[in-house]
Amino acid sequence: MRVRSTYREALRVALREALRDDPRVLLLGEDVAFYGGAFAVSHGLHEEFGTERVRDTPLSESAFLGAGIGAALGGLHPIVEVMTVNFSLLALDQIVNSAATLRHMSGGQMSVPMVVRMATGGGRQLAAQHSHSLEGWYAHVPGIKVLAPGTVDDARWMLPAALREPDPVFLFENARLYPMEGTYDDAGSPAEIGRAAVRRPGRDVTLIAFGGGLPKTLEAAETLTAHSVDAEVVDLRTLRPLDAETILGSVRRTRRAVIVDEAWRTGSFAAEVAARIAEEGFYDLEAPILRICGAEVPMPYAKHLEDAALPQPHSIVQAVLRTMGRA
């Protein structure tokens, strides 16, 4: 049955299920318990599962993320919540130098089954230390998997999939999506990691998006029908491993690709996708690949500037019309 839910509630349902079904699971992070979660995702869970399993940590991102790694090595299955991606930079050492390396560096002796969740993205006027989209950076790192749920169904079903993985999985929750309404299948099954999804079939152009960019891209696709453009929307869902097959299959049909990424263009994940298409699908293309990315600027506070710094449905529409030769 499809259940109506917000993205936030869907995440909470998944967390509750994980804590209920596996005594090794614990949720670790700043203000996950008494405060009720900075974004209210974990609201109430400490009352249900106690403050040992839903555990508030001091402000010490490097220490509690590293402790998550150690706990995973020691037989627990931690879900570490980092309040936002900007704060995860304080834990970057533990993530890149340890979480991602231990299995390989130890010759396969070690396993770090840990899920790291964090809020990402701009659009809430929180300026330059709370608004960036760094999931593409994390996707650069082999040894971790990077998921970016962009729908309520994925908010519900990506966590159980992540918990099945023997290696660290990073779940990027775009903070603008927390109140988003949608539905999930309550008899669904864990999402397939490494599998993109065609969210809207179309013939004329492939729009590739993920996370916070997905709803904007779907909106743009709707608007494009008024311009007689039938756009296909591919939701990447997983940045690492990347499902190149679905992307290339779609581009083979539509012969045009536009990539939407809220992060900075230079060195963006969009650049990686564009490179894959160029390497493996070049002869399918009828027009240059286009990228719609965030402006190359630390996120400004003022609303009109922030809006201008992020891809918007109208800028996506304009780009698509350009690649179709209509603008």
């Binding site: 405060y35 402000l59 010490s60 929180l126 330059a128 009109h304």
Partner: protein, 327 residues
């Protein structure tokens, strides 16, 4: 009563506290009207610290602050108008509308922000002081942070550097007993914060942060000591925030009774009573402060309302020194 010994200064301490209080009450009101957006962290209840500490600094000294910095900025002499305009996101704001409430800057007043990464400002303060020491300038860098920051690695790394290199930093820990929803005793193994600094060989003392005179005197002693022989000092200022952490916080982690208990120690009426007792303040004097402050805030709001937005075309200005960096 024994005041600071300077009746003008005694009154000015009151005036600064009232200015901060009324300014923030106005800001909260404007937030509910949607004029101010993003995060807004109010300092109400903690005014004695900003008023007291900044009354003893000279214009050559530097200030490094956090996202809860309206009080520090106002007490430093950053104009109410430029702060209000900043919170509106206007081009005339003290950070050009790019920073908002959490990122106030005024380098002419040596006010170095406005850092929204907990503990993020502390190493920067150490560096400012390093420059002063190296260039043989007799200046002090005052560095504000909350007790939550004491759990971060950056705090400890900075304490060590400042003590090791004997740098002229005045560390000011505003201990309001909660980091968002995490109570001090749930985040620190040793809750006596002054003793943490002492463990780095740094002279440190706890101060009643609700008593503006005690704050001013302790800060005076510390600043004089630093000027006499550079080397860091540490004050733990015990205080309480009367309002929510930010505007979204349902305050699940503390009781109304506790808040009410602390409100009885409100620093403004306490100081006012002492001034009256000493015959230094009468009804007319008190009313004058109130009306001057009201006029200043009203003018600030008018200024913010009438100020222009930064043109969207300037979005990329100041990312680098040169203009015209490619998007």
């Amino acid at each position: 009563m024994s005041g600071t010994g300077d009746p003008g200064r005694d009154l000015s301490l009151l005036r600064v506290m009232v200015l901060i209080r009324r300014f923030e009450e106005q800001a909260a009101e404007l937030y509910t009207q949607g004029k101010i957006r993003g995060f807004l962290h109010l300092y109400i209840g903690e005014e004695a610290i900003a008023a007291g500490v900044l009354s003893v600094l000279g214009p050559e000294d530097a200030v490094v602050s956090t996202y809860r910095e309206h009080g520090h900025a106002l007490a430093r002499g950053v104009s109410a108008a430029s702060i209000m305009a900043e919170m509106y996101g206007k081009a005339t704001g003290c950070s050009g509308g790019r920073g908002g409430s959490m990122h106030l800057f005024d380098v002419a007043r040596r006010f170095y922000g406005g850092n929204a990464i907990v503990a993020g400002g502390i190493p920067i303060a150490v560096g400012l002081a390093l420059a002063d020491r190296q260039l043989a300038r007799k200046r002090v860098t005052a560095c504000f942070f909350g007790e939550g920051a004491v759990a971060e690695g950056e705090f400890h790394e900075s304490m060590n550097l400042a003590a090791l290199w004997q740098l002229p930093v005045l560390f000011l820990c505003e201990n309001n007993f909660y980091a968002m929803g995490t109570a001090l005793q749930r985040s620190q193994a040793v809750t006596d914060i002054a003793s943490r600094a002492a463990s780095y060989g740094m002279p440190s003392e706890p101060v009643d942060g609700m008593d503006v005179l005690a704050v001013a005197q302790a800060a005076q002693r510390a600043v004089e000591a630093i000027r006499a022989s550079p080397g860091p000092r540490f004050l733990e200022l015990r205080t309480y925030r009367f309002r929510a952490h930010s505007m979204y916080d349902p305050e699940l982690y503390r009781s109304k009774e506790e808040v009410e208990r602390w409100k009885k120690r409100d620093p403004i009426p306490a100081w006012e009573a002492r001034l009256r007792e000493a015959g230094a303040l009468d009804d007319a004097g008190r009313a004058r402060i109130e009306s001057e402050v009201a006029a200043e805030i009203e003018a600030a709001v008018v200024f913010a309302e009438r100020s222009p937005w930064e043109p969207t075309e300037d979005l990329l200005k100041d990312v680098h020194t040169e203009e015209g960096i490619v998007a």
